[in-house]
Each structure stands twice: as structure tokens, then as C-alpha cells.
Amino acid sequence: MMISVSHITKTYNKGTIHAINDISFEVEKGEIFGLIGPDGAGKTSLFRILTTLLLADSGEAKVNDWDVVKDYKKIRNGVGYMPGRFSLYQDLSVEENLNFFATIFDTTIEENYHLIKDIYEQIEPFKDRRAGKLSGGMKQKLALCCALIHKPVVLFLDEPTTGVDSVSRKEFWDMLMKLKAQEITILVSTPYMDEAVLCDRLALMQEGKILTIDTPEKIRASYPLQLFAVKTNHTYKVLNELRNYKDTESCFAFGDSIHVTFKTPTDEKTISKYLSDKGDTDLTVEKIEPTIEDSFIQMLKN
């Protein structure tokens, strides 16, 4: 096991705020493990406990078999960490930033260049530019280089893609896939559900608790109800009509369609008829497979 967390609890304000509530999970070597959840779910606290920056109130955690309390120095030497609000030194150039972090971790850019080569080549044209003048996507890439430069056994990435546009996000995840191929274990958190499917396994978190841990496929497969997608050009109107339908269990906008579940088994025709009776004719209803986001919404409701 690369990371093992058992019954970790962390409170703030003298125990009144439960940031993390009795969490346990394990991450295997070479896995990309995702912590998925909104702000305030406890992701950052968990990262800080694992990177030895915070002490848990109770429970045990190990990274590469090093205890987060006793062996904190070993962990600090051996892991890479990209904090959530990490923004590098704005007034230093790209190269100066990278050089600095390489030195701090007692290595050089040359020594582990193979690790960062793919990423660094993309930002190299701007190596003399100050980090503060880079775009969000470029900054994240540079930060990733800085976290990788000392060849860590585990990479902790706390919301690396928040506020970054979707093209840069995709590129960032392409890089994580390449790192995975080099057997680096990655623990990553994100509020974006579309990134969740890219993880090998993930934990859905809410208010300091883990709702479920599994592979994306299994999480989706465990969705308890039949999901219907209704496509229409009058989303708001149809949304309200479906919510007023007596048998509706849940109903929400989802991308270009409306996702609905029902308390009792039903079929497309019944729904179409109900809506066309209301005057909505130009629409399609079909049964669909749930996404991770559907599963998460389902779990949040309970």
C-alpha cells in the first residue's frame, strides 16, 4: 500500500467543526486516486494530514509505510505536494522557480529531467517569463514540474485544475496519465466531476465523510434507479412540469438534457404522454446510463 488511512478524524475550533470524520481508505502503488467533493468536504485537511502539515485528532495514516507523525521527515523528503492555493513565486521566472524548488529538494533539474520533460517542453518557450505573467493552465503545469522535480514516490495534488479552462484541464490530466505510466502514485482532488472518471478509483466526499469509494464504473453501476434523459428546447418549463409529476423521485438539469428518476418503474411513453398533455411536443425521452455526477447527486440527496 502506498497510502493507508485508518479512522482519521480532524476537528477545528476545539472540536466544534468536523473537517474530517472517521475516514479510512487505501491507495495502491501506481494508482490515480481521486478525492471528489465540493469545497468544505475536508479534502484539503486530508492532504495536509498526509503531507505531515497537520496532526489528526485521532486515527493513523501512512505514506509509503512511513507514519505521518513519527516519520514525518521521511515523508517530507519523499513526496511531492501541490497545495490548493499554491501559486509559485510570482516575481521569479519559470526557470528560477523550477531551479529553486529543485535545490530545496536537494536535486537538480538535469537529474530528473526525464520526469518533467513532457510537461516542461510546453512551458520552456516562456522560461524567462515571470510566473505571475503566466496563464492559469501554464502556472499549473509549472507547479506540477516543481512538485515532480525530486522524483517523489507519491504525488499529492490538491485541486490542481480549479479555475483552469477545460483545454488546460484536459492537458493536465494527459500528463497525470503519463506519470501514472511511470508508476508514480497520485492522490488528486477535484470539484470537477468529468475528471473523476479519469481516476482509477475515487472517493466521493461530503462534509468530512466519504460517501463511497470505488472504481468509476462500479460507482456508476451501483446507481439504484432507472435514469431517464429528457431533451427539450424549453428546459425550464419542462423541468417544472416534471417536478410537479406525482411519481417523480428526482429531477434536475444535466447538460443539454433533464435527468429524471421515478419512484415506480415507468417507461418513455408514459413520460412523453404526460409532457405532451402539458403542451410539450418537441422533445425526446430515453433511458440512459448514469454518470459519476448522477451517482454523486443521488448520494448527496440521502
Partner: protein, 246 residues
Amino acid sequence: MEPVIVTEKLTKKFDDFVAANELTFEVGKGEIFGFLGANGAGKTTAMRMLCGLLKPSSGKATVTGFDIYTQTEQIKKNIGYMSQKFSLYDNLTVKENIRFYGGIYGMRRKEIAVKTDELLSMLQLQGEAKTLVSELPLGWKQKLAFSVSIVHDPSIVFLDEPTGGVDPVTRRQFWDQIYYAADKGVTVFVTTHYMDEAEYCNRVSIMVDGVIAALDSPAALKKQYHSSSMQDVFYQLARNAKRKAD
């Protein structure tokens, strides 16, 4: 549909850098208009010009019928603004925040009182009127911030990445609010990094390197770019952007 935002070749240059290049588009009343673009594509610049915060270098534009060069004061009275970063004062209560924003827009005390009750009951926050905003969960804050941004019944509300970091359920509740406001005739001008949210918009514009590279309804854009999702449309358009580093 009567237009509330009309721009013609709207351009902003910073020295020799063209942040926004000849933007021409219209947004209709009650429309939910998605304003997308990669980081650095010029979204913020364009939005600031429309809000009357930044003077354009050239081109024409009117917002709610007022000229963005000369009538910025009138524009400001008729628009609402909310962003993920700036929203409410943490150390004021829910009620105090509403009163403050109402006061800023010159609403009368009685008017504010009526609005406050209306707003609180709509958000089901009646019990929390005297709670400090800092004590509210993030999702509630976001919803309250949106309500406060339209407390003065503006014709347009500008939303700058309003749903960052919010859980999927709250995000949808937030969009319910947007739908409701748009249904009441408020024009919603919204930027987001969530591509599924782009699908919720009536029309979407995608900016690349300072120009509008595409503008249409999500369905039409997906058809045009032979894609199944807006994510893919966006990727096709923005992937070759030159200004990534800026």
C-alpha cells in the same frame, strides 16, 4: 427578441496587445448567454467593458440601451454583478447584506424590507436573517449572493464563474435560480469553466485569442463541430489558442 446588449466591433487594446478584437454580438431580453473562453482569451476584458468599468479602444456598444462610452452611470444602475470571488460581506448578517446592497442602488427602506422578506422566503432562509454570512454553508452563500445581485431588479445580471467549487446539487439549485430569473425577463450573462453549464445556456459564445470564434445555441454548435458535447466543441476551438501563456 428585443436586444439588451448590442456590440459592434468592440475592441480593447492594452498598448499593442489586443485583448478583445472587434467583438460583434447581440444578447436578447431574458436570454441566458454563456460567455466561454480559455484563460486569457479576453472574457474578463469584454465583461468589464460591458459593465462600464473599462473604456473600449474602438467600436460601439450599448447595454440596456445606454452607451458604454458616455452613459456608464445609467448602465451601472441597470445591471447586477456577481462573481465567485466577490459576493457578500462575511461579517454582516444576511439581512444586513441585503439592506446594504439595496441601499447602494438607492432603494427605499420600505422597498428593501419588502424585498428582503420576499428574497428570504424564496431562498427558505427566513430563519437565518440574523445569521452572519460567514456561518452559512458555501452553497447558501452562493444562492444568497445571486439573489442580492438582482435585488434592485436589474435588466441584466453578469455572473463571473459563479459556481466554482460548489457541489453538483447546489450547482443545479443555483441554475434553477438562473432559470427563474431569466423566465422573469432578466438577461443572464454568465462565464463558467463547467462545460455542462454551457449546455444550460440559450446561446453560447466562445472566445479564442481575443475574438469570438463561435456563437450559437449549444445544439447548433455541436452540430456544426460534429461533437456530442460542448466540452468537445470548446476543445476543438480553444486547443490551438496562441495566447495560452498570457
